[in-house]
């Protein structure tokens, strides 16, 4: 019988130019058997949301190292709500101070991964928390 294949978008909103981490995570998702839409650097929240909708992904993983996470991540969540697409789960990763995490979660970010998290943990989290829709 037909089965859903999990689709995830990995992208980098904002201005920082370091995508090594995002690529490592994308590769780990691929090895976990997911289809990964990789959109690369310097994305606006609008571009990310529109790409996620066109690609019908189950979740969006965003890497931010610029310090702009408190602006960019809530904006992505807000746009998903405006487009009635907030069933798409948003999670983030990067250099994000622990103090900022509760606020991000309140804004709709489902999880935040900080430096030192293993790719296995991220994959396991996605398997547990993201249902294909």
């Amino acid at each position: 019988m037909a089965e859903r294949k999990l689709r995830v978008l990995v992208g980098k909103p904002g201005l920082d130019g370091h995508d090594r981490g995002a690529k490592v995570v994308a590769r780990a998702f691929r090895d976990a058997g997911f289809e990964v839409i990789y959109t690369g650097l310097h994305q606006t929240p609008e571009q990310i949301v529109s790409a996620a909708i066109q690609e019908d992904v189950d979740c969006v993983g965003l890497s931010i190292l610029s310090g702009a996470h408190n602006t960019l991540l809530p904006r992505v969540c807000q746009l998903f709500r405006e487009k009635k697409a907030d069933d798409i789960i948003v999670f983030g990763g990067g250099v994000i101070p622990p103090d900022d995490i509760p606020g991000l979660k309140a804004a709709g970010v489902k999880e935040v991964f900080t430096p030192g998290t293993s790719t296995e943990d991220i994959v396991a989290w996605v398997r547990q928390n993201v249902a294909t829709h």
Partner: protein, 316 residues
């Protein structure tokens, strides 16, 4: 309201959901595709193919921009390979096309091959049909990076563009078979490279050896630098010339007949196979047959004949 109805009203989410259902092989997609079918057949389908790294995605981005300037709505289907080991895939063609992401006149969908050979995914044709029903004027299909005989695209696209780059090998590669026989337009991209003119010449020589009658379409070799947008207008002009040729020469009739016949045969093949195969996987018969084959108590030819006879001979 069903997905098809929502799509016809311009609902983007419904369209991307139906594409997912198609890709995942959900039978619920079939009635929606039936409902959309009368609204298809209007889009101009362009295939872009060529080896990995030739610049296909960048070229698609530029051609998309050129058609947007002409006021056309553009759909893009970009295909990347599935890992045969994990079933996962990284679909990275959008990286080159991000500037169109929030343009409502552009819809881009990435597909993974999911084990299908030939340069496309099994779902490509149906996804193109959905874009057609979304009233996309132009639908660009970018194949996976192909080598020599992944030529399925030619049966789907009105115009097939083969993208090459300088320095991929000597001219004997080009005369073997395959992608040099399918192009309606040839592009030597990265034309700022030193060997570009030689590659153009070699391609032109190969193409001259094709035995073409005067009334046939004669493919040209174009030069582009997709990353800088050089040569794009000329390329689009040449694609449009080919499209006009299809209609002016009446070749379009032959193209559509072959395409529709093939679609029907493929669908019949798939449905027949499922019709026969699915029951025996459920009732244990398949297992029995395999066991018989392993112990050599039966040969595969007789096993298939027996199964077909049972399935299709009316019982008295």
């Amino acid at each position: 309201m069903g997905l098809a109805e929502r799509i016809l009203q311009g609902d983007v989410r419904a369209a991307s959901r139906l594409m997912r259902d198609i890709d995942d092989g959900f039978s619920s997609a079939i009635p929606e595709l039936k409902a959309l079918y009368p609204h298809t057949g209007n889009g101009y389908v362009i295939g872009i193919t060529g080896p990995p790294g030739a610049g296909k995605s960048t070229l698609v981005d530029q051609v998309t921009a050129a058609y947007r300037q002409r006021g056309k709505r553009v759909g893009v289907v970009a295909i990347d390979p599935t890992s045969p080991f994990t079933g996962g895939a990284i679909l990275g063609d959008r990286i080159r096309m991000n500037r169109h992401a929030d343009d409502e006149g552009v819809f881009i969908r990435s597909l993974a091959t999911r084990g299908h050979l030939g340069g496309l995914s099994r779902s490509t044709l149906d996804v193109v049909n959905v874009m057609d029903a979304m009233a996309m004027d132009v639908i660009i299909v970018e194949t996976v990076g192909v080598g020599q005989d992944e030529v399925d695209i030619v049966q789907m696209a009105h115009t097939t563009v083969v993208v090459m780059v300088p320095g991929l090998g000597d001219d004997i590669q080009a005369i073997k078979a395959g992608i040099l026989e399918i192009g309606d337009v040839f592009v030597v991209n990265k034309a700022d490279r030193a060997e570009a003119d030689r590659t153009v010449r070699e391609l032109a020589v190969m193409l001259e050896m094709n035995r073409l009658a005067d009334e046939d379409w004669h493919p040209k070799v174009m030069k582009t630098e997709a990353s800088r947008g050089v040569g794009i207008e000329e390329l689009v002009g040449e694609m449009e010339s080919h499209r006009e040729f299809l209609y002016a020469s009446g070749r379009i009739k032959h193209f559509l007949e072959e395409k529709q016949a093939r679609i029907f045969v493929e669908l019949l093949r798939e449905r027949l196979f499922q019709e026969v195969f699915r029951p025996i996987t459920v009732n244990g018969r398949f297992r029995e047959i395999v066991d018989g084959l392993v112990t050599r108590s039966v040969d595969p030819y007789s096993a298939v004949e027996a199964l077909l006879a049972e399935r299709f001979t009316p019982k008295r």
